[in-house]
């Protein structure tokens, strides 16, 4: 369980995290979604106490991270990829962390094998590819067999097999009742990995919502209609609940009606249709629209609250 309460972080005049409150629950995979630079890594640093919050606080399993006598057994974190001494071997990198908690060498061997780095464990970490560095980071996150696993952009640099492996790992960890919190800037990745979403933009909370709910809300029915009488059709369909948008001289995008309803209305009024195609907006588009709003309205708090309310509803 991770609980952030009015968490705020300013660097100089720059606000990186702004009054952020959320709870990450055990037993599910929670995605932490936001564009690059939205404050995800900063939030994770605040959780680990690497940076001190300007205001507010964050607790892990009810306590401040620094107050645990054995923090590696509470939270395992994959930090930004460059958190390894480039001159030290992968094995020794894990060993020095294990030794701070008296974790035996056998556990280090176990994890080297677990993430598939046996062949390169004695190589200096500075010679690793990004994918190998990520695996090393995941090994280091699991070293203490922690209750809370927190991964910052874990799929960066991984090949498709590696990505699938991470997804399965996250699911397994969550099914064991652990708290799994992973950040990403890719909605499509979250849709297949996460159960719950915390979406931020510019350090603000935009949405705290289950993935299913997010998909339901954002898979609106938009229908693409091609007709030589597009103008006539647009007038015909005009209704407060319906929005039509001309996408070309003969193309309309209609929201609020199904393809069947549009086809029937057109037939009743002898309007010729050349194409009638329901569109599924991708989640990536929905996510981008959401964060674009955040960027556009970030100076105007009331508007932001409305946006938030609309999503939460």
């Amino acid at each position: 369980m991770i609980e952030a309460l009015n968490l705020t972080k300013r660097y100089g005049g720059q606000v990186a995290v702004n009054d952020l409150s959320f709870t990450v629950k055990p037993g599910v995979v929670t995605g932490f979604l936001g564009p690059n630079g939205s404050g995800k890594s900063t939030t994770m640093r605040l959780i680990l106490g690497l940076d001190a919050p300007t205001a507010g606080e964050v607790r892990v399993n009810g306590r401040r991270y620094a107050d645990f006598p054995a923090p590696l057994h509470e939270v395992g974190a994959l930090l930004e990829a460059r958190s390894v001494h480039t001159g030290r071997s992968a094995y020794n990198h894990l060993l020095v962390q294990a030794q701070t908690h008296g974790i035996p060498r056998a556990r280090v061997d176990e994890l080297i094998e677990f993430v598939g780095l046996e062949g390169v464990a004695k190589k200096r970490a500075g010679q690793f590819s990004l994918g190998m560095t990520q695996r090393l980071g995941i090994a280091s996150a699991l070293l203490g067999d922690p209750e809370v696993v927190m991964l910052d952009e874990p799929i960066n640099g991984l090949d498709p097999d590696g990505i699938r492996w991470i997804r399965e790992l996250m699911r397994t960890l969550a099914s064991e009742g652990r708290t799994v919190f992973l950040s990403s800037h890719l909605m499509s990745e979250m849709a297949v990995t996460a159960d719950h979403l915390i979406v931020i933009g510019r350090g603000h909370l935009i949405a705290d919502i289950s993935v299913n709910e997010f998909i339901r809300l954002h898979s609106r029915s938009v229908v693409l209609v091609r007709s030589p009488q597009a103008g006539e059709l647009a007038q015909l369909l005009s209704d407060p609940a319906v929005t039509t948008q001309a996408k070309g001289p003969e193309v309309l995008e209609v929201e609020g009606l199904t393809g069947a309803q549009i086809g029937e209305k057109a037939a009743a009024h002898n309007i010729v249709l050349h194409e009638l195609a329901p569109q599924q907006p991708t989640l990536e588009e929905a996510f981008m629209a959401l964060t674009r709003d955040e960027v556009e309205f970030h100076a105007s708090t009331p508007t932001l609250r409305e946006t938030e309310g609309a999503i939460a509803a």
Partner: protein
């Protein structure tokens, strides 16, 4: 590589015996850190070699020139200072080990892993101090002993007023100077650690250390002699080197007082580093 990935089944939850952070655990980890990075090993080795080499070389030169030296030169010749000359060169290498022990972590980002594992942070600083202090003494003490005995063996047989110029370890002040030379190197290592932890930058740390050791002392000459004489003995390197003097002159501190003054500088630097470490973001 992906073929070798184990299915993501978690290694049983009880497989890890939970002990947690202790100062001893953190010290073991810091010793591993110091051992497993090439740059610190090389710099320690360089310090060891320089201490010995720059005792042997001047001893060889003096021994071979002895018969052609003037009486004045022979009287001024100090067989102890000659054989501890290497300490003055080795101090930069040992100081750099201290700087790198901290700044190497900041420059690579390792510090985030370190402080994620030990979020209270200060145990890391204490462990680094203890481990570096121990390791530098283990390197520097054999080095000054080897330097002393080898150089004296080279000087043996050369005479001044009928007496052999070579010193024995039991001669007054000799043991103190040789052991003190090793302690001086240890303190310079810790000084480097404190400076590195305060500045967090390898270039900045090494520059600051080199400036304090090699640039500031000669700068004292720009002041009037009375000022210079009053200030110079208290500069970190001059104060610390008093422990290696056999003759006490008017403008040097007493041996252990001098080493104590250097220890004071180190303590203040470490104190500043500790305060910054607790409160700064990483």
């Amino acid at each position: 590589m992906s073929g070798s990935l184990t299915a993501p089944r978690l290694l049983s939850r009880t497989s890890v015996e939970r002990m947690g952070i202790t100062q001893t655990h953190v010290a073991v980890s810091e010793l591993t850190k110091l051992r497993t990075v090439r740059s610190t090993r090389y710099a320690l080795f360089a310090g060891f070699v320089m201490t010995i080499a720059f005792a042997i070389i001047p001893a060889l030169i003096s021994a071979s020139r002895w018969n052609t030296m003037t009486v004045q030169e022979r009287i001024r010749f100090n067989p102890l200072l000659t054989t501890l000359m290497g300490v003055n060169l080795a101090q930069l290498a040992i100081g750099v080990v201290g700087v790198l022990a901290v700044t190497g972590e900041y420059s690579t980002g390792m510090i985030r892993s370190t402080f994620a594992a030990v979020p209270k942070r200060l145990p890391v600083l204490w462990a680094k101090l203890g481990v570096l202090g121990g390791v530098t003494v283990l390197v520097a003490l054999p080095a000054t002993l080897i330097a002393f005995f080898t150089a004296q063996a080279i000087l043996r047989g050369h005479k001044l007023n009928g007496r052999d110029i070579a010193l024995s370890f039991s001669d007054p002040g000799v043991a103190r100077a040789v052991v003190g030379g090793a302690l001086y190197l240890m303190l310079i290592g810790l000084f480097g650690l404190g400076i590195g932890a305060t500045l967090r930058s390898t270039a900045g740390g090494i520059s600051a250390l080199a400036a304090i050791l090699f640039v500031v002392p000669p700068l004292m000459n720009i002041f009037p002699t009375s000022w210079s004489n009053a200030i110079s003995p208290y500069l970190p390197s001059n104060a610390g080197r008093a422990v290696m003097q056999t003759s006490h002159s008017a403008h040097t501190l007493a041996p252990w007082v001098g080493l104590g003054v250097l220890a004071g500088y180190v303590a203040v630097t470490i104190g500043v580093a500790a305060i910054r470490l607790r409160h700064r973001d990483v």
